[in-house]
Symmetry: C2
Subunit: 154 residues, 2 copies
DNA sequence: TAATGATATTTGTATGTGCAAACAAAAATG
DNA sequence: CATTTTTGTTTGCACATACAAATATCATTA
């Protein structure tokens, strides 16, 4: 037991000059929560965005990159990269149709769906335990609403 | 005008199966708001984390990487990389003292402080306009609180 | 004081993400 | 029908970030 430990208790990770800034706080939250997500989804070799994308592809066979871009709030180029990764792992396949690209889940992609759902639940449980179940609901809604508003303008 | 367009109007960028997930929403918000930040701070060649770090160095001359790591909620290795960037731009300098490293702002680093402050304000103004000034305050507090809670456990 | 453990910092490496440009295909226009 | 413009997708490149391992220094203990 050192002094440091004791003195730190008083101000343990308290507000900094940045905590009042949403730019700062939003990124801090995203990093912290992504760490949980990647840990859970990482158990079967995916990061959270891969998993979410695969979910969407399974739910909407033949979905296009641009549609995924809107759903996942990610840039088209990022979508291409994620699809490549999933293709490489044999979870999805691409089909060219004119200027569009249709994306389908493979059998393997369908097969790990339950595992993804479980990981998803565990993620939710874990951050709910820390943040508090009631707060999470409200917070999530507000965060999403803000993200949506900002997303439309840029 | 296609059917798609019309049906989409009802749910334009509305909730997806992911919007109820804080992992998803938090990242979406962080990306959207970082885009604003990097645009404003980018006017003078910095990204938002560089700018914030420089602020902290100016405010606390001789601050160490580990202290910065705690304040900025970033990994020590990331801090090293950011410091390298700022050093390269001649905004800070490093001083080795035993196993620690002390970081000081240069004259140039001090000089652009007002510009950073202005950009910071513009960022705040911009997202406040979109999200709503009242909501921002509350949202920021909640987001930071959540980030802090999650940060402690991991 | 020599050896072992703890702490601070830095590198090697990998990855998700975005911007701008390239490309391909469709639509609109003359 | 040819040309131009728009739309969808993919690359080239850059960058912030993290993890794990390597260093370097300090602290502790035998």
């Amino acid at each position: 037991m050192k002094n440091e430990e004791n003195t730190v208790v008083c101000e343990e990770k308290s507000a900094t000059r940045f905590s009042a800034c949403l730019l700062f706080s939003a990124n801090a939250l995203a990093r912290a929560i992504t760490a949980i997500g990647d840990e859970e989804f990482g158990r079967f070799g995916l990061c959270y965005s891969h998993a979410y994308m695969l979910c969407e592809v399974v739910a909407q066979p033949g979905i296009t990159p641009s549609e995924l871009s809107e759903t996942l709030y990610l840039t088209p180029s990022t979508i291409t990269r994620l699809v490549e990764k999933l293709e490489q792992k044999h979870y999805v396949r691409r089909e060219s149709e004119g200027k569009r690209t249709l994306i389908y889940a493979t059998a393997e992609g369908d097969a790990i769906q339950p595992e993804i759902a479980q990981a998803w639940e565990r993620v939710g449980t874990r951050y709910s335990e820390v943040i508090g179940k009631n707060d999470v609901c409200q917070l999530t809604q507000q965060v999403f609403k803000a993200a949506k508003s900002l997303g439309k303008t840029s």
